[in-house]
């Protein structure tokens, strides 16, 4: 399955005619939903808020490139190369949460459901609790990624040669999970049992947090830049290969000693994955612009967007799972109501 031409006789179910095109007109770096409005975060300066009817309103957030974003559905917090950490809420109001005194890039950001926010600039990680208290922690090397644990105030900080588990409210010294190499992205499993990082090498690394046992997830042709937990956290879908690589996390051993499932293979690299919030379905965006919806159980595919354009840059579902938003690197975007 590599080519969807000609369209009429495609051997695959298609919903391309139901997509509402949205002209963002600028490179998009991430999409988040604030209620039923899709927020297309630009690579530079502004966010385009798009309502279900396709009406666009633009809000300027940063004075430069937008390097990282996180959202809890109520607000989006973004870090920029202007040294600012800024917040955008569903009403379109912008607030600056922090400004780096040296105007360093804000490289990473993470949000906790209780309102805490974590961010990093260079080697320094910051946490602001829901009550507004700031704490900082200097890492041995530049922070590659940040994630809040689903329970308690605990932050995973990925960096060179491992991950530091930091408990900002506790006097206890942080826990260090060691693994040689440069760790970039980091996620906790929704059940808080596993921690997974994307590495500079084309591989993932994982730890079972109960006993810090290692899980090596390798074999990718390219670096993994997108990870998404399926509804309920039973599996982790990833980009980086010519198919969606899905690692099983249902058992207590996670993917240890197990093979991943490969879904929706194309002759193009998977660039972005986003699992449906409620059902065992995922959306996958490819380097040739294709977007597919894929059923995890049997790999059945539905075509959302044809190939032949710029790489897919971002995908997002709304909380109810009734809208899928996507954007390609050239700013062509769309909304698919289900």
């Amino acid at each position: 399955m590599s080519d969807f031409e000609p369209g009429d006789q495609a051997s695959i179910a298609s919903v391309t005619d139901r997509v509402r095109p949205v002209a963002i007109g600028a490179a998009v770096t991430a999409i988040h939903f604030l209620g039923d409005r899709a927020a297309f975060v630009g690579a530079e300066e502004s966010v385009a808020l798009v309502d279900a009817e396709g009406g666009i309103s633009r809000v300027t957030v940063h004075g430069g490139g937008i390097l990282c974003t996180a959202s809890d559905g109520v607000r989006i917090v973004m870090g920029g190369d202007d040294g600012k950490l800024a917040e955008l809420n569903g009403k379109g109001e912008v607030a600056v949460l922090a400004t780096d005194p040296k105007r360093r890039w804000i490289d990473n950001v993470a949000l906790h459901p209780d309102g805490a926010v974590a961010w990093s600039a260079g080697k320094t990680a910051f946490v602001r609790s829901g009550k507004g208290e700031d704490k900082t922690f200097d890492m041995p090397s530049t922070v590659g990624g940040l994630a809040f644990a689903p329970k308690g105030l605990r932050v995973a900080v990925a960096h060179y040669n491992g991950v530091t588990l930091w408990f900002p409210n506790m006097a206890a010294s942080p826990e260090f999970l060691e693994w040689a190499g440069s760790h970039l992205g980091v996620v906790f499993s929704p059940d808080n049992k596993f921690l997974v990082t994307t590495m500079h090498e084309p591989a993932l690394h994982g730890w079972r947090l109960a006993d810090n046992r290692h899980m090596r997830m390798s074999g990718y042709p390219g670096r993994v830049k997108s990870m998404s937990w399926s509804a309920g956290g039973k599996s982790l879908a990833t980009s980086g290969a010519d198919a969606v690589i899905v690692w099983p996390f249902a058992s207590k051993d996670g993917p240890m000693g197990k093979e991943p499932t490969m879904l929706a293979p194309l002759q193009a690299r998977v660039a972005v994955v986003a699992c449906h919030p409620k059902q065992d379905i995922l959306a996958a965006g490819y380097s040739d612009g294709t977007i597919l919806m894929v059923r995890l159980e049997d790999g059945a595919e539905i075509l959302v967007r044809r190939n032949g354009t710029a790489e897919v840059a971002a995908l997002a579902w709304n909380a109810k799972g009734t809208l899928l938003a996507f954007a390609a690197e050239d700013g062509e975007a769309g909304l698919l109501p289900l």
């Binding site: 490179a27 770096t29 690579a43 530079e44 430069g64 490139g65 937008i66 390097l67 190369d81 040296k102 105007r103 360093r104 890039w105 490289d107 260079g122 080697k123 090397s141 530049t142 590659g144 060179y160 040689a180 190499g181 440069s182 590495m199 500079h200 090498e201 390219g222 670096r223």
Partner: protein, 348 residues
């Protein structure tokens, strides 16, 4: 149609020992009326006196690649910064990376060889080393970093020439040539150099490997006839011929190989790969133009430590001498082993 390599954003690496004049050269580049916009990556944030819109502070974090090779190092911060900069594509035409005076240029260069994302968007244009005419000779004795930067350079800006006598200048040039005879050398005061001499050099572009003759041969000097008259000092020996002072650096040197007989590709390729695998830590830079048996194309390659890239470049021209030439610049190169290995790849 420009080739895809040329559409990638060129990156110039600016090195040089402390106080040699890197910032002066950087400001000269930025202030010149060229109509181009540069993104500048500096080693220390808030460094004084750089006038540019887009300045990014780097941490010079050198990471080992997870492939068991100790010399396969990359600049992790550079991967991150280039990724972030690509969000602002269109806001700048080229990137300049200034390293600290103590930095090894190799991890910077290797970042462009090994990182897929970096390769997709940017290309290494050249390593430009600024050297202080007055103090370089001393630094070459006491600072291994200074020697590295000279050995690694594609372009050397020999600065502050107004502060030394003619004899001292000849001395320092001879020392540079003892290490790296291939870099383009420009004598400057206050880094006054033509921008075209330091930017858009295409030094890592395989298509532009045209010639690997030593730079100073153009000046008509002859260094083929070594009349060895060794006076061993701490740092090497010098021997004069024809009035040109000639140094041989005991530690860092270059090795040139040449043959007008065709090379056997089935022998040469494995030999070269084995050589850089076993001696890659010593070999800083390598470059070659090759004539293979039963092949009408010129083959070119270049490498940094263990990393090599090569390709067929073009057809040999009518009447062009089908000569193979290789150059290695490195530390304590095992000359005889390399020469013997090369000989064994020549078809008889």
């Amino acid at each position: 149609m420009p080739s895809p390599t040329l559409q990638k954003i060129p990156v110039t690496v600016l090195t040089g020992y402390l106080g040699a004049g890197k910032t002066t050269l950087l400001n000269r580049i930025l202030s010149e009326n060229h109509g181009k916009k540069y993104a500048v990556i500096v080693n220390e944030f808030g460094e004084i006196g750089i006038d540019n819109d887009l300045i990014i502070g780097a941490d010079e974090e050198v990471f080992e690649m997870n492939n068991g090779c100790v010399c396969c190092t990359v600049r992790g911060d550079l991967v991150r910064i280039l990724d972030g900069l690509m969000k602002r594509k269109g806001k700048f035409d080229a990137i300049i990376v200034e390293t600290t005076g103590l930095a090894d240029p190799a991890p910077v260069a290797q970042t462009f060889f090994v990182d897929e994302d970096v390769q997709k968007n940017a290309r290494l244009d050249a390593v430009v080393t600024v050297a202080d005419a007055k103090w370089l000779s001393d630094r070459l004795k006491d600072a291994p970093e200074a020697k590295n930067q000279i050995a690694f350079a594609d372009v050397i800006v020999l600065n502050k020439t107004d502060l030394v006598s003619k004899a001292e200048l000849a001395e320092v040039e001879a020392r540079i040539r003892g290490i790296n005879p291939y870099a383009k050398l420009h004598r400057t005061e206050r880094c006054k150099v033509k921008l075209s001499d330091v930017l858009e050099r295409g030094a890592f572009d395989l298509d532009r490997i045209l010639d690997i003759e030593p730079d100073f041969l153009e000046a008509g000097s002859d260094h083929e006839h070594h009349d060895h008259d060794h006076h061993h000092g701490h740092d090497g020996h010098d021997h004069g011929h024809g009035g040109l002072k000639h140094y041989h650096d005991e530690e860092m040197q270059s090795l040139a190989l040449r043959t007008d007989k065709p090379l056997d590709p089935t022998k040469f390729m494995p030999w070269l790969q084995n050589l850089v695998a076993s001696e890659g830590q010593k070999i800083l830079r390598s470059k070659g133009i090759l004539a293979f048996s039963d092949d009408d194309d010129r083959y070119v390659f270049q490498g940094v430590h263990m990393m090599l890239e090569g390709d067929h470049q073009r057809k040999w021209k009518e009447g062009e001498a089908r000569e193979s030439r290789l150059v290695f610049i490195g530390r304590e190169l095992p000359e005889q082993i390399i020469r013997d290995g090369f000989e064994s790849c020549i078809t008889s």
